[in-house]
């Protein structure tokens, strides 16, 4: 394990007028660590994810990222050009709805290759070879490379979105309900795939989910949110096996046993 955190979050709050999005959130994310943020709809987990990933500006508080050059940078003070560059090289963002993260009218190959072209790759053959390799890694048949995601199933689209994000070897990936809206069997396959990729690539990830089984399978650590506040956090096993807060106990006891 590396000696310094990848992301340092200090007292982040976001208000929508007088309504609270999230309040006073602080934590550190370490390299290779997967953090799950759980809570019901409206608990502020997606707001927090947006603040961390610079999709929203926090009302107060600081989010610092450990850049590849070894320096910490305050994300809110970063220029837009640099921030956007960071987002499409060193970061990934997997949306719940793949249509939000994919270009639905260009081929699977171009979807995967876009980030490479954005950072200046100008060799068609190389781009295509890399895209082919990534499709294989996310278990999409090679002969679908020229098909548009419109022709893909929900699970395939989600896997394509993951490939599109990982092609530049990012160090940090944000995921917003990555298995939401998928059939259970499709979910299992996706979870296993994500789990394998996170492990093989040594990724750090922040995953927002309301599904505790997803958190159990993918995350090392968990934060439970309610009404914009982090009410409990700790090792995933600990939070799920020995929930301490009333709301967490309610969440855990509400899981359906099969």
């Amino acid at each position: 394990m590396s000696a310094v955190p990848l992301l340092k979050v200090n007292d982040v709050s976001k208000f929508y007028g007088s309504r609270i999005g999230c309040r006073n959130v602080s934590f550190e994310l370490w390299p290779g660590e997967v953090l799950a943020i759980v809570g019901e709809s409206g608990s502020g987990k997606t707001t927090l994810l947006s603040c961390l990933s610079t999709r929203l500006m926090p009302s107060s508080g600081v989010v610092e990222y450990h850049m590849r050059d070894g320096q910490y940078r305050d994300l809110a003070r970063m220029g837009e050009a640099e921030r956007r560059f960071l987002m499409r090289t060193d970061w990934g963002f997997v949306h719940q709805n793949p249509a939000d993260g994919l270009r639905m009218t260009v081929s699977a190959g171009a979807n995967v290759g876009e980030r490479l072209m954005a950072v200046g790759d100008r060799h068609y053959g190389n781009i295509r070879a890399t895209a082919t390799d990534w499709l294989r890694r996310v278990e999409i048949e090679e002969d679908r490379i020229d098909d548009q995601p419109r022709a893909f199933s929900g699970g395939m689209r989600q896997r394509l979105q993951i490939a599109r994000n990982l092609v530049t070897s990012p160090r940090l990936v944000f995921m917003d309900e990555p298995t939401g809206g998928l059939d259970v069997s499709v979910q299992a396959r996706l979870l296993d795939l994500v789990r394998g990729l996170v492990h093989d690539l040594g990724l750090s990830a922040i995953i927002v989910t309301h599904d505790l089984a997803v958190a159990r399978l993918l995350s090392h650590r968990m934060m439970v949110m309610k009404d914009g506040l982090v009410i409990e956090q700790g090792l995933t096993d600990r939070v799920l096996d020995d929930p301490r807060e009333p709301y967490t106990q309610l969440l855990v006891s509400s899981i359906l046993q099969v």
Binding site: A110, M117, R122, Y124, R128, I145
Partner: protein, 292 residues
Amino acid sequence: MTDLATYNFAYLDEQTKRMIRRAILKAISIPGYQVPFASREMPMPYGWGTGGVQVTAAILGPDDVLKVIDQGADDTTNAVSIRAFFQKVANVAVTTKTREATIIQTRHRIPEETLTAGQTLVYQVPIPEPLRFLEPRETETRKMHALEEYGLMHVKLYEDIARNGHIATTYAYPVKVEGRYVMDPSPTPKFDNPKMHMSEALQLFGAGREKRIYAVPPYTEVVSLDFEDHPFEIQHFDKPCALCGAEHVYLDEVVLDDKGGRMFVCSDTDHCEDRREHGHAGHLLAQQEAAE
């Protein structure tokens, strides 16, 4: 009352011309950058060159000589009516000869004859935004230009190669201007792209419906985008022009009968006539003469 007295010189009022000239100056200062302007209603529908007409009206002086071409031809409806328009509202001299013109308004072609210093080429542009194909949001495309994020342009070319085995974009082929802005050269065939590079003439682009003006000043670098392993290439034609025998020019296909007969002739009608006047003859013309 005469007809002419009804209009200000070149149709537009002086305030509007001033506004457009300011936009043009800004466009020249930032080659390839799309400058918004308050496009006016013109007495012709959108798509008939309202952007080009406004640019021409703003730069036209009484001493100018105007040429108007549509797909290379001086005698098509659009070219004839725009030429007639300026004759009526500005009373300027008009010509079909490329080398005699000081201002050439064009739809979809650059004349074959190399333009020279002092000449201005005004393009009619339907969709000025080269990134629009893949990114429908104007806020986003503006940001992409501002931050020089042009990966998306190559996504389009990638799609071309993936689908056709080569870059199949044949017109409106994107270029990078002076190493900075990616620009849509309007729907001219990519055959004409190299003519934009380091041209001695001033090139102005007007999009009336989209309310944008952009420019390529003289002696400006204009590079067509491509891949290392799929370099930019212009169209090649198997045969010379059937009428004037010219090679290395852009040809139009003309269907001659309903039995599959066709010929390929210069798209630039002035260039073709000029060559024929100088005694050049293509195979079709030679056959006709032989028959006579």
